[in-house]
Point group: C2
Chain length 201, copies 2
């Protein structure tokens, strides 16, 4: 005896969501069975609407237009490109309210374990942008993980070796103690980079 087919199918679909197992998937379906019909309809409508969303042809952020609002914005400094792995990282940088340049979303990180090679992410497209437009600085804002560091080194190497590109300033975001971080529990690499990057107060 299992759930009715309609319920089981939906549980199976939710189980494919990132970080969701069958138990949580089941809770989601029971939640949807409990909300009123109108709310379920609204949810389905909103799902229908995201079908129109694709990628910006320039920076590969999600966009409902060919070129996303950030790339279209005349107030944005096109000579500074921040390289990020995923659109959600773009959102995190935007929320600081400090950045006025543009972005390049790689759509992942080089990860040999997961079989993601340089050709699976938007590296060719990044080099194309660097060659076709005047770019003064590339800021790397990639995860502080083996994959993030590896992808950055791979890109830095490619750019530095290219006679057309090797004048571009390459930077990476600072490493240090996060807000609320405790020195006692900080790892040595973070702490030594935080020491080297110390600021006058």
């Amino acid at each position: 005896m299992a759930y009715s087919q309609e319920i089981q199918n939906l549980i199976d679909k939710f189980s494919l969501f990132p970080g969701i197992g069958p138990k949580t998937a089941q809770r989601f379906v029971f939640y949807l069975l409990r909300i009123n019909q109108g709310d379920l309809d609204d949810f389905i409508d909103d799902l229908e609407k995201i079908k129109s969303i694709s990628f910006c042809e320039n920076c590969f952020n999600f966009s409902s237009q060919k070129i996303c609002p950030i790339c279209q914005d005349p107030k944005r400094d096109k000579s500074i490109i921040t390289v990020i792995a995923e659109p959600q990282d773009l959102m995190a940088v935007e929320k600081t309210g400090e950045y006025r340049g543009v972005y390049h979303v790689l759509g992942g990180l080089i990860d040999t374990v997961q079989n993601v090679g340089p050709r699976e992410i938007k590296i060719k497209e990044l080099l194309g942008r660097l060659k076709n437009f005047t770019v003064n600085e590339v800021i790397f804002a990639l995860n502080s993980t083996i994959e993030g560091e590896g992808t950055m080194l791979y890109l830095v190497n490619l750019i530095k070796k290219d006679p057309q590109l090797n004048k571009i300033k390459l930077t990476k975001i600072a490493r240090g103690l996060p807000l609320g971080g405790e020195i006692e529990y900080a790892d040595e690499i973070t702490l030594s980079e935080a020491l080297r990057g110390r600021k006058i107060i």
Copy 2:
């Protein structure tokens, strides 16, 4: 600067799911933006299909028919009713493969903090079943929490006070050390009930 309206609306909807915050909601939306159109259509189809699901008029389990397959099953012993809070609890009992009686889904537990009173859950309907059908035993399989115990005591009291019903055998599932449980970390109540309920080996 926020997400495009289509994305933000869907993030808001997912944020209403049980146990889901805005960060996870965002991950879900990005997951859906990444899967292919056919898979998204299938997901929407499955959501449309659960609209036909309502409650069994007898036991209040989810059902696409007026009376659910369990209540309709002639092999099920209708004289034993297990009282549970939610349909997912029914599934948990079914998975044991040991139970051949029927169920009564209360649709919640009495919870004064959350303003759930006896009238908000299917108590009247349970008493109706006990009066209109020959029931020999009511098994309480409610959470081992204040709300679960409180709801059970409330029901036991109602049934025992009723001259029509006070012959029905009332039982509750055993309390004890769960599989993998460690005695060192077991609370006193569990352990003392486990001791009293000890079995000859």
